[in-house]
């Protein structure tokens, strides 16, 4: 039995934020959960899928966040409680439907969970998901500690049913992936029953058809939508999750939410300011409860807003403050717009300490000079500089080797448009700096299709795009259809490693299993591409010469869209993990090392962590603990010094 369901009401557990969301959703009586893998959100659907059978849930890894939100919405329309989970940029993908869903309203309690990644620790953007709540006019909740993560998630379903609209919960990396103590509530009994009622009148949100809006009749839906949000704000006025901690008359008031609540508490403690600075922790950050906020803004003239990335809360508070100025007085605000806190990167206690100490004039605790010096020296001299790289045995290293070399040999300044996945690392030296554009899911194919139409303007550079098997289904299919139909010329390399690897090897429509481990039909990517009218070829990326030659021939042909599938399972996939195809060994007599004729191509360029440079001997060696025995390096050694022998 999973620990998320094994635990009495009242028992205390150390839970990751994502685990607390799962527990809260289960306590909230969820029936359906969907999502698309995205750090830092992925554990939520994984854990729910793990208890799906026991708790009678339907849990799905959807093809993308838009479809995931639509699937969860169907459950809500049928009277079930549902949840859709994604990372911050997933909300962008889901946003078209979200806009319309917020207008049509929901029935069974529905929650959208967005786990943001301030600082882009595992993203190629630092986007803001909070603004979507304001833009589509739905309530936004941000839990500020771990108990609250669970309690707020559970409560969100009740709130959603109260106002008959979707509620958004926003978490961040340091809530989702950090841990704290959580006391369990009880899990509900009872069976959920799905039925979609639509016989009522057209504009009856409860019993009629579910439509976002009548054409040319904005007020018919938009009015009720805004009324729902006002109702939520009314409920927020007395919501126990909004808390104040500090002196009755603080010198400075911090208004904060989410993980920044914890940073602010740490900062106050570090500076000993608990008698001077109070914290208004808001869990209901849209729409702001006006009177409650007013009551706290009135306590002092100095207000500091602590939040991640953009000054969203800051601007919303300032709007209220401006409106209430005649009642509460003019305030001095400190935050991102004043330059006291940055609008880039993750917030942390040190930044809050620095800002507080300069505003309040309190000396910050200093690091002893000798210690700081020693730490700096250790970092500079002792800590090895580690570049990001692919796992040993990763098919992408082999794929990029061949792609990069094919393009160099073709010698016409060809380039590759990149996409999102482990293979995004192709923009770094570990992928031989092959990628020349990187944006969002599926955008590599879209952009490449665009480049492939520029021949009439004299563009003669061969165009290549890369895309993973999961990315293909998520977003690349429409781009491919467009390119074929528009007669664009480019090569789409599909790096098929049999899973959504970057985020933890989740299933997708090309895999013969679903989130809950049940057998499912696997869609045939090659057949889909052919049906769209593209030429399709398949290679094994571990066959370096064959792969390189195939791509060179395709680039030479240069007309229309060709799909080149490079198929080889991820080194961490179930079919390959822990299994060695070959035992690898380097013959030190044959190894040229740094000499002319090689110059360490295996360790200096190819860069598999399983090959190590022995400085004293001037040769390369295999690190048997790291090498997974894929055998590819044997083909890159000009001397044939790397030997492979079939493993028993």
């Amino acid at each position: 039995m999973s620990y998320v369901i094994d635990g009495q009401a009242g028992s205390s557990h150390l839970l990751m934020g994502n685990e607390a969301i799962v527990r809260g959703a289960l306590e909230g009586g969820i029936s359906v959960a969907t999502g698309y893998p995205g750090t830092p959100s992925s554990e939520i659907i994984e854990l729910l899928a793990g208890v799906a059978k026991e708790r009678n849930l339907y849990v799905e890894w959807s093809v993308n966040e838009k479809v995931g939100l639509e699937v969860a919405a169907a459950a809500s329309f049928a009277g079930l409680r549902s949840m859709c989970v994604m990372k911050q940029n997933g909300v962008n993908v889901a946003s078209d439907f979200l806009l319309h869903l917020a207008s049509s309203g929901t029935r069974g309690g529905m929650v959208l969970v967005s786990c943001d990644d301030p600082g882009a620790l595992s993203s190629v953007n630092e986007g803001e998901s909070r603004l979507f709540a304001k833009m589509v006019e739905i309530p936004l909740l941000e839990p500020g500690d771990f108990q609250e993560v669970k309690d707020l998630t559970k409560w969100a379903f009740e709130l959603s049913e109260e106002i008959r609209n979707i509620v958004m919960i926003r978490s961040v990396t340091r809530m989702s992936h950090a841990s704290g103590n959580v006391e369990y509530g009880s899990l509900p009994d009872g069976k959920a029953h799905a039925n979609f009622d639509f016989h009522g009148p057209l504009l009856d949100q409860e019993k009629g058809p579910v439509i976002s809006m009548l054409v040319s009749a904005a007020e018919s839906q938009h009015g009720p939508q805004q009324e729902k949000l006002r109702k939520a704000a009314g409920i927020f006025e007395t919501c126990p999750f909004n808390t104040y901690k500090g002196p009755e008359r603080p010198e400075l008031l911090i208004v904060t939410s989410s993980a920044c609540n914890l940073y602010s508490r740490e900062a106050i403690k570090a500076l000993n300011l608990d008698k001077k600075v109070g914290i208004l922790k808001l869990a209901t950050t849209w729409s702001l409860p006006r009177n409650m906020v007013k009551g706290h803004l009135a306590l002092t003239d100095k207000i500091m807003i602590v939040e991640e990335v953009l000054p969203t809360l800051e601007e919303n508070i300032k709007v209220l403050a401006a409106e209430m100025a005649s009642e509460i007085g003019i305030k001095t605000f400190y935050g991102k717009r004043s330059g006291h806190l940055p609008s880039i990167g993750e917030m942390n206690p040190d930044l809050v300490i620095g800002a507080l100490s300069s505003i309040i004039g309190q000396k910050r605790p200093s690091i002893p000079v000798a210690f700081a010096e020693r730490a700096r020296r250790i970092i500079d001299e002792v800590v090895p500089k580690r570049a990001m790289t692919f796992c040993p045995g990763c098919p992408h290293r082999a794929s990029y080797w061949s792609i990069h070399n094919a393009i160099e040999m073709d010698n016409r300044k060809g380039f590759v448009c990149g996409d999102i996945g482990c293979y995004t690392l192709g923009m770094l030296p570990c992928g031989f700096s092959t990628l020349k554009t990187v944006h969002s899911m599926g955008s590599g194919s879209g952009i490449a299709g665009g480049f492939g139409k520029l021949k009439q303007f004299g563009m003669d550079q061969p165009v290549v795009a890369v895309c993973g098997d999961s990315t293909f289904f998520h977003a690349a299919m429409p781009a491919l259809a467009n390119a074929v139909h528009q007669k664009s010329s480019f090569t789409l390399v599909i790096l098929d490693n049999s899973g959504t690897a970057m985020t933890g090897f989740q299933a997708h429509p090309g895999i013969a299993a679903n989130a809950m481990g049940e057998e499912m039909p696997a869609l045939d990517i090659a057949a889909i591409c052919r049906a769209m009218g593209a030429r399709v070829e398949k290679v094994d990326p571990f066959d370096l010469e064959g792969t390189r030659r195939a791509l060179n021939e395709i680039m030479e042909y240069g007309e229309g869209v060709t799909v080149l599938m490079m198929q080889q399972a991820c080194a961490l996939s179930p079919q390959r993990k822990g299994r060695k195809n070959y035992d690898m060994e380097i013959d030190e007599e044959l190894c040229l090392g740094e000499k002319c004729g090689c110059n360490r191509i295996c360790t200096r360029i190819f860069g598999c962590p399983g090959i190590v440079w022995n400085k004293e001997k001037g040769v390369s060696t295999i690190d048997e603990l790291i090498c997974v025995g894929c055998g590819v390096c044997a083909d890159i050694c000009p001397q044939g010094a790397i030997k492979r022998r079939e493993a028993e």
Partner: protein, 379 residues
Amino acid sequence: MLKKGGPYELLSDVIESDLCIGCGACIDLCPYFKSYRGKTAMLFPCTSSEGKCFAYCPKIEVDLDELSLHYFEAPYNADPLGYYRSIHISKAGREMGGASFQAGGTVSAIMYYALKKGYLDGAVLTDSEGLLPLPCFVTQPEDVLRCSTSKYAAAPTLSALNRAIRDGYGRIGVVATPCQAQAMALMRVKGIEEKEDPNPVHLVVGLFCTWSLDFRALEDFMKERITTESIEKIDIPPPPAEIMKVYLTNGAKLEIPLDEIRELVPESCSYCYDMTAEFSDISVGVLEGRPDMNTLIIRTERGQRLIEEAIDEGYLIVDEIPEDALAHLTWAAGRKKKRALTKARDGGMINTIDEDKRSIVRLRTEILEKILVASQGCE
């Protein structure tokens, strides 16, 4: 003072300066330089400050005296034809009967004979697939005949030599263009380090060359006129024809004025001062006015011995070269040498002194002067 360099200098001074002729000398010495469809590419940066790639390249830092002293035990002279023992006309003998050749079949006969008699263990030749020349390495005499037609696009033939040496072959014969022959002379002089056999090339048969063609440009040019799969053979007959003949598989023939073809000549060829492959054992070319014969220059003792034995056993027929043919050959070779060295001198690419400026060639000033002022009387 001969300057040294590595792959970085090779890239900047030769490849990116439009001087690379794609001879293949730097290809397959290591994993970094590759040739594809006539173009040389550096796959990854090699950080060596000195390398064989730079040392063997015939288009950078070539000291002609150094090569000449090594090959002929005499410094470089201003003779348009280089050093030689004798010049003749020739063609394949009766033992080669039945085979089809471009002109006289002299090169095929020599290589066939050398392999058959065991003077060589292998031969580096140039095969082709349509217009695309393909370096190849053969060990059987019959395979020589497969490569018997002339290739007009520049070929990275020496890459096959590098691969053969790496695979442990010695006693190799190579049919080479003048630039390729010069690269092999550089290999011999500068050394192939740490190999058991410091001189695996036992025979160099050089080909006369006025210019070569860029493969990709040639392919594009032909594609505008015909489907290139239908090309059976290409021939540029000796002067005064001034045309390129393209024979198609359907029996048709295309004649293209050489002036149009000259547009496809790589920039690198305009700096080439060697028409008759001066650094070979034997040099072979066409014979003006006689499409069934070759001009044959014997330069070294080894070359002479081989020719004499081939004649004795009926593989080669050799005759006296007519005076006017020799005069015209000398004139043409002199003109090419003068033109190329004038251009190089005017471009400041000879005998440079600056730290960071490398020369394509170094030779004694008095020899250079002699060549530059040589009178080019009319035909």
